[in-house]
Structures are given as structure tokens and as C-alpha cells.
């Protein structure tokens, strides 16, 4: 395969896999916003926490894969009281919840800075094999991450569309008062949704950790990207978030083949401006 085409293909696959990870995180954000009415500016920091926890688990036990179990457990333990006791009063108030979660973001980041430190560190590649795809050598770990993300996304889809819990969540997303009136225990849905959203973000961080470096500020980039993905996909549309995540990241990947990474990111944002100008409500409206 000619060199540029293989580079583009490589970056495209990179982008798609990255898009799957972003989809996980963004879906978490979308659920939190849709069900709880919280603009979660700390979402990126939950992603970061997932990566940091993965780092510690890997250093302590030597086994990276253990973190895929440890992270959800730790997040559940921490996120549930966070929602119940701290976030509850801000739910439904967009501007207020935005600032409140900025406050939480400060706290999480500083804790990470104090414990993990300010130096970016790398986690060793847990699966250092590579596969030859269409003439391109592709890292095995990334393919695995893609597969795991797809698995989690499928599980999420099953949860939201094929279980009674999922119906309750989607009902709460559409109309909270109506859901209440129909006897759905909204408080329970609130806690579980926040935990679910947090777990998704943290898992994204864990999976992404060996690919990027683990840095206490790594959440900041992610959170903006996720918000854009949610908005462009269309508020309230989970399908839209998924498609937007994949398309945006794939597009960014391809553009990185002829632009610098910073330029590629900026170009994506410009494209988003244009998309939102033509379709201000996003691509898919629920």
C-alpha cells in the first residue's frame, strides 16, 4: 500500500478507536445531563481518575487488566455519595451545576496532583503485539481497546433499551415529572445514572491510559470534546452522541495526516461551528 494511504488508514483506525472511547465518555455525560440536568464539568476528571487508578493498580499488582475490575468498583463507591449528598441540590439548574461541578473538578484535580503528582507518566503497553492490517502494522492493544469499548457500548445499549431499568432511565430523560408521576423511583434513577455515567467515563480513562500518558489535567481536553459531541449529536439523542463521537474522531484522525494535531483539532471545531450553524439543534433530535 502506498505510504500516504497507509498513514491515512492508520490514522483513520486510530480515530475510530479513539471515537469509541470518546463515545463511552460522552454517553456518560449525555445521560448525566439528560436525566439529572447537570452540566458535569468534572466529567473529564472522572475520566482522569479512571486513568490514575489504573496506573496505581498496574504499579501495585503488575496487572493492568485488574483495573478494569477495580475502577468500576471504586467509582461506584465514590460516585454514589457524591450524587446523593453533594450534587442533588444543583440538579436541574444548568448554570449553577456547571459551576458547582467546576468546584468539584478543582477538588478532584488537586487531589490527583497531591497524590499522583504533576508529572505525566506512562503505563506499559499491556498487550505489545501488532497485527498487519491491509499492509499496516497496527498495535494490538488499540484493537483490543476498540473491541472492549464496543462490548461495553453493546452492554450499555442492552441496558438502556432492553431492560426495565433502561426504560425508566430514558423516561426520566424525556420528562422527569411524568416519570415521577408514573411511579418511577426517580431518586434511585438519579444515583444510578450518575454512577453509570461516572463508570463509563472512568472506564474510558482506564482504556485510554496506556495509549496516552496519565496526567492530572488530561480531563480538560476530553470534557470539551465530549460536550461538543453531545451537542452536535443532538441533546437527548444517545444515538446521535455515538455517531458524532465516531465521526468527529475519525475525521480528526484523517485530518491529522496532513495537519498538525493542534490544527486538526481546531479544524474539527470549525467544522462543528458550521454544522451547528446549519443545524442548530444537532444532527439527531430526540
Amino acid at each position: 500500500m502506498p505510504e500516504t494511504a497507509s498513514t491515512v488508514l492508520f490514522l483513520l483506525i486510530n480515530g475510530l478507536i479513539w471515537g469509541l472511547i470518546v463515545a463511552l465518555i460522552a454517553l456518560g455525560l449525555s445521560l448525566i445531563f439528560g436525566v439529572m440536568g447537570i452540566v458535569n464539568m468534572a466529567h473529564g476528571d472522572i475520566y482522569m481518575a479512571g486513568a490514575v487508578i489504573a496506573f496505581y493498580v498496574t504499579s501495585l499488582t503488575g496487572d493492568f487488566w485488574l483495573s478494569l475490575l477495580a475502577v468500576p468498583v471504586i467509582v461506584i463507591i465514590l460516585a454514589a455519595p457524591l450524587e446523593r449528598f453533594i450534587l442533588r441540590p444543583y440538579e436541574g439548574y444548568h448554570s449553577t451545576s456547571m459551576i458547582a461541578t467546576v468546584g468539584i473538578s478543582f477538588i478532584i484535580q488537586q487531589i490527583a496532583l497531591g497524590t499522583y503528582g504533576g508529572i505525566p507518566k506512562k503505563i506499559m503497553n499491556p498487550w505489545p503485539v501488532s497485527f498487519n492490517l491491509l499492509g499496516v502494522d497496527y498495535p494490538g492493544y488499540r484493537l483490543l481497546v476498540g473491541a472492549i469499548s464496543l462490548l461495553i457500548l453493546s452492554a450499555l445499549w442492552l441496558l438502556l433499551y432492553k431492560t426495565s431499568y433502561g426504560i425508566k432511565v430514558r423516561a426520566s430523560m424525556q420528562d422527569r415529572d411524568m416519570a415521577n408521576a408514573m411511579g418511577i423511583n426517580v431518586n434511585q434513577i438519579l444515583v444510578t445514572t450518575f454512577v453509570l455515567g461516572g463508570v463509563l467515563a472512568a472506564m474510558g480513562g482506564t482504556l485510554a491510559a496506556p495509549i496516552n500518558q496519565v496526567f492530572y489535567l488530561m480531563g480538560n481536553d476530553i470534557v470539551l470534546l465530549c460536550f461538543i459531541v453531545v451537542i452536535v449529536g443532538g441533546l437527548g439523542s444517545l444515538k446521535g452522541t455515538f455517531i458524532a463521537a465516531l465521526s468527529l474522531c475519525a475525521l480528526e484522525g484523517v485530518m491529522a495526516s496532513f495537519l498538525s494535531p493542534i490544527q486538526a483539532r481546531a479544524a474539527i471545531f470549525v467544522i462543528m461551528v458550521v454544522v451547528l450553524m446549519r443545524r442548530p439543534q444537532g444532527l439527531f433530535k430526540e
Partner: protein, 324 residues
């Protein structure tokens, strides 16, 4: 019900001087006096507080007066800072004309981003402004030949000559009062605007946008006007910041400058103009002193934010003035 009563029997309710105005007068007087008393280190903090107060006020016009929660104000702040760079380094004009450049940059940036963003409804507006922040920040960091990137560009300033005297901003006290004058002027202008018909229309849009629309107001036009006013004064703040530091960098476009005004306003009180100054003082003093003995002072700050918002969504002054 008889209608014949002449309207001269009753007069319009007197406009009482409100708590925020008292606070503003107190704050400005205090800072005027402090200008003669403060030692060097504290004076530089005080100058910073004054510059940020302009930014906070500017942001209040957007969020507090017309309910437009923009996350893109760093575009105007950074734009204002680079307006100075443009004037001093490229056009090689003086300090005051460069400041006019800053205002112009702010005006154009706010107009362009506003025309695209203002028509969008709440959440979409926030994201669109955030996208603009990201675009400008990324471009500023990338185009180092123009902006100096993260390292930034330093400038040397010629003395300002006003015919009767020359002032050099290198003298800290001069710098202080230079900024003070602009703070006072900005407050005066924005306060007049708040009490004028324009300001009242802004508030009515915030209170009930649909109702205002059905009274015959072109909502888009007014919201855009508020956004542009907000942008211009944000740029003024950025310009003053660049002048004080004699430096500007791509960092002035970073998210910090977009989120700090929101925090200042929400802590101090929305729609009060001067209330946001409390937020500025709290955060700046905190950062300056607490960071000295605990590096992780932001944790305390995060907790303070949560507590304040828990007690009153309208911030401190808003709460005291009788809101909730």
C-alpha cells in the same frame, strides 16, 4: 372603576440606591485610598483585582443581565491583550491608541461570534461559545509566529503623554491609577446602561424572554447587543492586563479566562455588576495568600464554591439583596 383620575396624582416609584451600588461606591473609594497606602507586593495584587473586576462586570452583562452563559469570553480577553500587542509591536503606536485597538478587537470578535452563537438556545449557546474558545486557543498556541504561542511576547511601553504631563506605566502607582480610572469609568458606563432603557430591556429578557418578545422587542438584537458590550469590556480588561504585565501569551485565551468570570459572578451575585467584584477579591486574595501555605488551595476553593452555591444560587450579594 373610574378612570378619570389624573396621572399626576401618583408619581413613579423612586429608584432607591441598591445594595450593589453602595458596595460599588465603597469598593471604589477603598481602592482609591489604597492606591496611596499599599506596599509593592500588595499593590500588584490590587491592580490585578481591579483588572479582573472589569472582566467580571463585563461578564455579568452577558450572564447576569441577559442570561447568556458564555464559555467563550477568553476569546475577548485574549483578543484585547493581543490588541495591545498589535498596537505596540506591529503598528508601533502608543499605549492609549493600542487600548483602542483592544476595544476594536473585542468588538469585532464579539460581533462575529455573537451573530453565530446568540441565536442558539441555552445549552447550544454555551457549547458554541466554548467551541470558539477552543478554536482561538488552539490557533493562538499553534501560530507562534504571530502570537508567541505559550511563551508569549513581551513589550516595552512608551510613556503616555497627555499634553500637560507624561505618565509611565512602569511606575507602579501610575499603573495602579491608570487601571483605577478605567475601572471607575467602566462601572459608570455600565451602571448608566443598566439603569437606562437598554438595561431594563436586558433585564426583562432575562426575566422572561418570551414575554419580552411578545411586547415587541427583537430579542436577538438585544441579546447580541449585550453580548457585544460584554465582549468589548472583556477586551478592555485583557488589554489592561497585557499593559500591566507588558506581556501577552496564548495562555490568555485559555479556559481559565472563560471559567473564572462565571465563578466570580456566581459567587458575587448575578445582575448586580459590582457583586461580581466580591468573587474577584475572594478568589484573588485566596490564590495569593492561601497558595503560599498550601499548594492545593484550590481544594478549599472548590469547597467554598459548593457551599456558596448551596446556600444561594444568586451568589453572595444577590442573597443579601433579597434573592434566593
Amino acid at each position: 372603576m373610574d378612570v378619570a383620575k389624573t396621572s399626576m396624582d401618583v408619581s413613579p416609584p423612586r429608584e432607591k440606591i441598591s445594595l450593589p451600588s453602595y458596595f460599588a461606591i465603597f469598593f471604589l473609594s477603598a481602592f482609591f485610598i489604597l492606591g496611596f497606602l499599599l506596599p509593592k507586593g500588595a499593590m500588584s495584587l490590587a491592580i490585578q483585582i481591579m483588572i479582573f473586576s472589569i472582566l467580571a462586570m463585563a461578564y455579568d452583562v452577558s450572564l447576569g443581565f441577559t442570561n447568556q452563559c458564555s464559555l467563550g469570553h477568553s476569546v475577548f480577553f485574549g483578543g484585547g491583550a493581543y490588541g495591545i500587542v498589535f498596537g505596540i509591536l506591529y503598528l508601533k503606536i502608543g499605549v492609549l491608541p493600542s487600548l483602542i485597538c483592544s476595544l476594536l478587537f473585542g468588538f469585532v470578535l464579539a460581533l462575529v461570534t455573537g451573530v453565530i452563537s446568540v441565536r442558539l438556545s441555552e445549552a447550544y449557546f454555551v457549547i458554541m461559545t466554548a467551541i470558539f474558545f477552543a478554536i482561538f486557543h488552539l490557533l493562538a498556541m499553534d501560530m507562534t509566529w504571530l502570537t508567541g504561542g505559550d511563551d508569549g511576547l513581551t513589550m516595552s511601553l512608551a510613556p503616555i503623554s497627555l499634553g500637560f504631563a507624561k505618565f509611565s506605566l512602569y511606575d507602579q502607582r501610575t499603573n495602579y491609577f491608570f487601571v483605577f480610572v478605567f475601572l471607575g469609568l467602566s462601572y459608570w458606563v455600565l451602571n448608566r446602561m443598566a439603569q437606562a432603557p437598554l438595561g431594563k430591556v436586558f433585564i426583562s429578557i432575562r426575566e422572561n424572554e418570551k414575554r419580552a418578545c411578545f411586547l415587541g422587542y427583537n430579542i436577538f438584537g438585544y441579546k447580541l447587543a449585550a453580548f457585544v458590550v460584554s465582549g468589548v469590556f472583556s477586551a478592555l480588561s485583557g488589554g489592561l492586563y497585557a499593559l500591566t504585565l507588558r506581556y501577552s501569551s496564548a495562555d490568555f485565551f485559555s479556559f481559565t479566562w472563560s471559567i473564572l468570570p462565571v465563578v466570580w459572578c456566581l459567587i458575587g451575585g448575578l445582575g448586580t455588576l459590582a457583586g461580581s467584584w466580591i468573587g474577584v477579591v475572594l478568589m484573588s486574595v485566596f490564590q495569593y495568600y492561601v497558595s503560599a501555605w498550601w499548594t492545593y488551595y484550590l481544594i478549599i476553593f472548590g469547597v467554598i464554591i459548593l457551599v456558596i452555591l448551596r446556600v444561594s444560587r444568586k451568589g453572595i450579594i444577590g442573597y443579601l439583596a433579597g434573592g434566593r
